[in-house]
Amino acid sequence: MYRLILPLIFFLLGAGFLISTFNLPKARLGDPYGPIYFPAILGVLLVVLSIIYFIEEWKQRGDKFPELELLLKGRTPFLLISTLVISLIYAFLFERVGFLISTIFFLGGLLFLINGRKKWMTNIIVAVSFSVITWYSFAVLLKVSLP
């Protein structure tokens, strides 16, 4: 039955999008509904597609849903969530403490997470050297304005 979740999500997305298009401001010049037609058509399209998709999935509702199991197996969910958390912290720190320091911690954190604690030496060397090299080539050679 998990199969049916996805078409339902698409249905809600399409319906929600369609409703929000009605709240769009109207154009002050030309056709007032000009900016609304296209998104509204897309909303309807997604709703229709989600219904077809639902019917397709309904036919195989008894089948296994191996994709979901794959995702929940082993430490995959843990890795995913921690990556998201570390990335968000990175986004928060990026302009506050500067590129170099935040990147070293971000990369270091990811490496410890994925590559494991046992290889701490490699992790640190890679994190520091890679951050410095990218910082040098972007900020100094290419003159990108990095914080």
């Binding site: 002050r28 998104p39 909303g43 997604l46 197996k73 928060f92 971000f106 003159k143």
Partner: protein, 501 residues
């Protein structure tokens, strides 16, 4: 325009001056590097180099910037092939068969054929440039809003049609891409749509962020699955030169795709992404073995590679003959050369023929240089595959974030990057085709705007189909791309029925 060979020769001599050779080499190398990195494309790289060009001779500056542009076409496919993470819109089509080739242990061959295809595509396009620049420029002018709208519809339908057997998923993917493309200011009315009062969103979401998120971040997340499994034997990378048979298979696709990509490149606003996707779908439709496409068919890599490089050459035609930038990158180049006192426009060929011909010849030299560089690099690049995945993936993530930062200079986009990463993960997991979504994000907003411009003054929305011969052809092509498999099936059936029992 009569082709004056003396001027061409003179241009060649100037292009061969050591200083210009140096700029070609430097630009080609830089272009290859930035092409490989996610997000950092030729437009950004050239824009960043503008201050350096301030002190340069205008001819050298133009040569350098062009070399970065087509250099990036070579580089862009490297990461598509090796890591399934295209560096730019025009490198997406290279993932379709390039990455499967690398997985089959043919990474070396894939890298080699894409460089060769790029070279041939580029050279054919340069010849086309010399012979046809002016007539093509006036042809491109005939593309108005209706023509562009239908060209984009055609490209989208051709891509969706690729997802055979999963059409619904293909259409859903496309629709979501179009939804994303509606974010930002609506040009025709100035209304803000779905910007959530964030000024960062007022220009919509950069399609490159979607590409980096879905491909690079999504690919890394997808590979978390089974990351702890002990790795099997060392990955085979194959020879770094193609076999005779492979050459035979890709020869014609390369030659066919070059003029196609070149023509699309000439159209202002179409560009490498559309060119490479149309070439890919065309090859697949005329192929005798369409079932091999997407599973590592060498012609499926060669065709788009030839096409996107040809398109990058074609994009200079409107710039140099009319002063109209045909793509984001050429717009940046235009801004830069104007600062140096060059005035690209209808008079450039007459006022400054030496500059134009030096530039065109530099593309010849540059393409030859790049193919050598890229083939030499193959040996080095395949080593990326030897890097342990557990170290490689964090590095890709860091590069994805930096690439995003160079697009908008705002960490807010990091959040979008993650959202698209998760979307990419879900799509890969549930085998939703990704290309329709990406292409829809790239063309969606232009498509809508062009449609609305085309119906101004038209009798009805349907009348735009019969507006010009070009629109009629594009409509037929669209129908063909959607129903070709059906027609083909019908013919086959009839043939079978006609056979004596």
């Amino acid at each position: 325009m009569g082709v004056d060979f003396d001027v061409i020769l003179e241009g060649l001599m100037t292009a061969l001056e050591p200083m210009n050779l140096f700029w070609i080499a430097l630009g080609g190398f830089l272009g290859t590097v930035v092409g490989m990195l996610p997000g950092l494309g030729p437009a950004t790289a050239i824009a960043l180099l503008i201050p350096i060009t301030f002190g340069m001779d205008p001819v050298s500056a133009l040569v350098l910037m062009a070399a970065i542009y087509y250099g990036a076409m070579y580089g862009g496919s490297r990461s598509s092939i090796l890591l399934n993470t295209p560096g730019d819109g025009s490198a997406i089509a290279a993932t379709f068969d390039g990455y499967p080739m690398a997985q089959k242990g043919q990474a070396g061959q894939a890298l080699a054929i894409s460089a060769i295809a790029s070279l041939i595509g580029g050279l054919i396009a340069v010849v086309g440039f010399i012979m046809l620049a002016k007539p093509l420029a006036s042809f491109a002018l005939r593309f108005g809003p209706a023509e562009y709208f239908l060209l984009m519809i055609f490209t989208l339908s051709a891509i969706v049609a690729l997802s055979k057997g999963a059409m619904v998923k293909g259409f859903i993917s496309m629709t979501i891409g179009l939804l994303i493309s509606t974010m930002g200011i609506d040009l025709q009315s100035g209304v803000h749509r779905f910007t959530f009062h964030l000024p960062e969103l007022s220009e919509g979401i950069d399609f490159l962020i979607v590409i980096i998120g879905i491909y690079a971040v999504g690919e890394v997340m997808f590979n978390y699955i089974g990351i702890d499994k002990p790795r099997g034997k060392k990955k085979e990378v194959g020879k770094i030169w193609i076999t005779k048979d492979q050459w035979k298979r890709s020869k014609w696709p390369i030659i066919r795709s070059a003029p196609l990509g070149f023509l699309i490149g000439v159209l202002p606003g179409a560009g490498g992404a559309i060119a490479s996707m149309i070439s890919y779908t065309t090859e697949r439709q005329i192929s005798k073995k369409p079932e091999e496409f997407g599973k590592g068919a060498i012609e499926g890599l060669a065709a788009p590679e030839s096409s996107n490089n040809a398109a990058s050459v074609g994009a200079f035609i409107p710039l140099l003959t009319m002063g109209i930038p045909g793509s984001g990158t050429t717009a940046v180049i235009l801004g830069a050369v104007v600062m140096l006192g060059i005035k690209p426009g209808p008079l450039l060929f007459e006022n400054d023929p030496e500059l134009v011909w030096t530039f065109i010849n530099s593309m010849f030299i540059g393409n030859i240089f790049l193919v050598i560089l890229n083939i030499l690099l193959v040996g080095l690049l395949v080593k990326i595959l030897d890097t342990p995945a557990k170290i490689l993936y964090p590095l890709i993530l860091v590069l994805a974030f930096i690439g995003t930062y160079t697009l908008s200079y705002s960490p807010i986009d990091f959040t979008f990057l993650l959202i698209f990463g998760l979307l990419g993960l879900a799509m890969k997991l549930l085998s939703f085709p990704i290309a329709p979504l990406i292409l829809a994000v790239i063309v969606g907003s232009d498509m809508e705007q062009n449609f609305r411009k085309s119906i101004v003054g038209a009798d009805s929305a349907l009348s735009i189909i019969t507006m010009s011969p070009i629109t009629i052809v594009l409509t037929l092509l669209t129908l063909l791309s959607l129903f070709y498999p059906m027609i083909l099936g019908w013919f086959k059936k009839r043939k079978l029925n006609n056979l004596p029992k």
